[in-house]
């Protein structure tokens, strides 16, 4: 009999049983897979769909998929995708409307879909889901409907990448809650197994149907060691204790001009960021002109028209737009939602074509203040 908050162990060759136990509950399982030379989120039904034996090398402006020398299942960091795109859809229909007489009528659009199970969510992305919940749960019924049924199987990181800085943001490497199950992969030949933390009743129920053993003190110690290893490999750091005030008082800092020379306003960072939530609304009609649909699509504050107001754009320059993104992510988000908007996943650093590093930009502003004694 397993109960929430207890820990058990699962052998690697039984991982398929876990996937089957989840699928049998009616979930659509989404997890990491290899495609187009990257690790991306996709439908997963077999263990072989997962990136077994793959890892990724990341640096500012660089991502390479490489083969591992072993067969670890979760031996990689993160790809350009996060669970965000399945909860906050890149394109979603908001309403359908048809002409009727002298006016028009709104048509109900169905909101049901198969409940989602995210398999292999790292701590940073878990916190990102929390952060997006604060934005969308109070006001978006479609997000709510999807989110309430979501099952989360987290993965505790045993390694960290060169662009990771979750430790600085207080969002990892260890997930401490908000998951149904959390797996820590332990591979010490010949034994390959997972420590499984049961986070909820639902997670416990699922593990009832999966063969497992109890967790010993040694298992717990090995899991802690994995976390320590991830911590020691953390590639970036950011001093966060005062970052809100630091940015609030430096809106006219010359560093913004500096980064503006490099930034292409390509919006990659906002696309890969697991917390960015800007969306635009588009109304379209069919050829007959009798039916119209409103769609919400991902948008980015780097788009020129993002700040369009009759007559012009409030933020016409790349400088203004980069400053908006970074100050929102690290400073104003805190006043809006009570947390930072950044989880330290490092994707914006990895996927920026010119390698702009948000931790370096903050450091540059802070260092110049220290040099001039807060002039």
């Amino acid at each position: 009999m397993v109960s929430p908050n207890s820990k058990v162990t699962l052998e690697r060759d039984r991982l398929q049983v876990l996937l089957d136990a989840i699928r049998v509950e009616g979930f659509r399982i989404l997890g990491p897979t290899v495609r187009d030379e990257a690790i991306v989120y996709d439908d997963v039904s077999r263990v072989e769909d997962l990136p077994i034996g793959w890892t990724d090398e990341q640096e500012a402006g660089r991502y390479r998929l490489c083969k591992r020398s072993d067969q670890e299942v979760f031996g990689f960091i993160s790809g350009p995708h996060s669970p965000k795109q399945f909860l906050f859809l890149p394109q979603e229909i908001i309403w359908k409307v048809v002409r009727e007489g002298n006016g028009f009528r709104f048509v109900d659009t169905p909101r049901t879909c198969a409940p989602l199970a995210f398999f292999g969510v790292r701590s940073c992305d878990l916190r990102a889901i929390d952060i997006q919940d604060k934005v969308f749960m109070p006001v978006d019924p479609r997000y709510r409907a999807r989110r309430e049924k979501t099952l989360i199987v987290a993965v505790q990181c045993g390694l960290a990448g060169k662009t990771c800085f979750c430790a600085s943001m207080g969002t990892g490497p260890r997930a401490t809650g908000n998951f149904d199950l959390a797996l820590t992969e332990i591979f010490e030949k010949p034994r390959h197994y997972f420590l499984v933390e049961l986070g909820t009743e639902r997670g416990a129920d699922i593990m009832e149907h999966v063969p497992h053993l109890g967790a010993t003190a040694s298992d717990l110690e090995k899991a802690e060691a994995a976390t320590r290893r991830a911590l020691s490999q953390m590639g970036r750091t950011m001093e966060t204790s005062d970052v809100k005030d630091l940015l609030y008082r430096n809106y006219e800092h010359p560093q913004w001009d500096d980064v503006a020379k490099r930034c292409l306003t390509c919006a990659n960072c906002t696309l890969v960021c697991p917390t960015c939530f800007c969306g635009t609304l588009k109304d379209t009609t069919d050829l007959s002109g009798d039916q119209s649909e409103r769609w919400r699509q991902w948008d980015s504050c780097f788009n020129l028209e993002h700040s369009y107001l009759h007559g012009g754009n409030i933020r016409p320059s790349p400088k203004a737009r980069y400053r908006q993104w970074m100050t929102h992510k690290l400073a104003t988000w805190q006043d809006q939602f009570g947390t930072s908007g950044c989880v330290g996943c490092g994707r914006c650093i990895t996927w920026c074509p010119v390698g702009i590093d948000i931790t370096a930009e903050v450091r540059a502003i802070r260092d110049s203040e220290n040099r001039h004694g807060n002039d």
Binding site: W95, V97, R99, N102, G103, F104, R105, F106, V135, F136, P138, V139, D140, P141, Y251, F277, C278, G279, T280, L281, D283, T284, T285, G289, S292, R296, D299, C301, E305, H306, S307, Y308, L309, H310, G311, I314, R315, P316, S317, K319, A320, R323, Q324, T327, H328, A331, T332, W333, D335, Q336
Partner: protein, 281 residues
């Protein structure tokens, strides 16, 4: 009875409203009176806005311009500035409009009880302030000295001229009107609206200022009021930004940490500083 200041449920699709009156105000501005399909009125606070939807084209945020304290048709004054506003301005009697709302924080008419009022409207900015002026007049005994300062481009660009004339004739209201340029038959002020502030009578320490107009005009009025000793926490401005969802999840209308749709559009200056005076923010 004070009108209720509620926020619309973000989940709803627009309510259908029918145009019952179409009045041209200026060459590019019309006022529409609307009635809902089911007949129930839309309750709102002075300063709030609706998202008006035109079939297949889109939505725009337009402030509500009627009387909050009296039930009646929904009133909107629209200036043509793009595809949607152009389409709205072209709607005839009997045609349908979608209305989502009301949204936003309104003018502080409750908090301003017992205070002198300085109400400054520039151009189309008189449209979001008209409900406030009407409500102040309806509950006149609650307030001290009340000044209304109105600026427009030329005498032909003054909004609601008949109502302005009525307000001017009241003994309990100081009304000053100025235009940027005029011909020989204009017998009132010519010059920028900030000039009128020196003509208004109010006790600076007991005054609430409410300003609406082009942002540059509001900025200069704020400076002038500060010189006269009106505190920033008693100075209210109505802001505009690119708006799509009106409920705070699309990210477009931010000014610093504030969302104009749900934290505004009316803000006391203290909520907006230092962003109010910043460029490109």
């Amino acid at each position: 009875m004070d009108p209720l200041c509620i926020q619309s449920d973000p989940d709803l699709t627009p309510r259908l409203f029918r145009v019952i009156r179409h009045q041209r105000e200026l060459h590019d501005t019309v006022t529409l009176e609307l009635e809902s399909g089911e007949g129930s009125p839309l309750y709102f606070c002075a300063g709030q806005f609706n998202m008006l939807y035109v079939f297949g084209i889109g939505e725009v945020p337009i402030s509500i311009s009627g009387s909050p304290h009296e039930p009646g048709p929904l009133v909107h004054t629209i200036r043509s500035a793009g595809a949607v506003t152009q389409a709205i301005s072209g709607l005839k009697r009997g045609q349908t409009l979608g209305v989502r709302g009301p949204f936003g924080q309104g003018w502080p008419l409750e908090a301003a009880t017992g205070q002198d009022l300085v109400i400054i409207a520039g151009g189309i900015g008189l449209a979001p302030l008209r409900p406030a002026v009407r409500q102040v007049i309806a509950y006149r005994e609650r307030y001290g000295k009340v000044s209304l300062l109105v600026g427009a481009r030329t005498p032909d660009d003054l909004l609601y001229p008949a109502e302005l004339k009525e307000w001017r004739s009241r003994f309990d209201l100081q009304v000053h009107i100025t235009v940027d340029s005029a011909g020989a038959d204009w017998r009132s002020h010519v010059g920028v609206v900030t000039m009128l502030i020196s003509k208004a009578e109010f006790e600076a320490g007991e005054t609430v200022a409410m300003i609406c107009g082009p942002e540059v005009m509001m900025r200069f009025c704020v400076m002038e009021l500060r010189k006269r000793g009106v505190a920033a926490e008693n100075t209210y401005v109505s802001m505009e930004r690119n708006m799509k969802c009106a409920v705070g999840y699309c990210g477009h209308c931010q000014i610093g940490p504030k969302f104009v749709c749900k934290d505004g559009p009316v803000f006391p200056l203290t909520h907006l500083e230092p962003f109010f005076s910043m460029r490109g923010v």
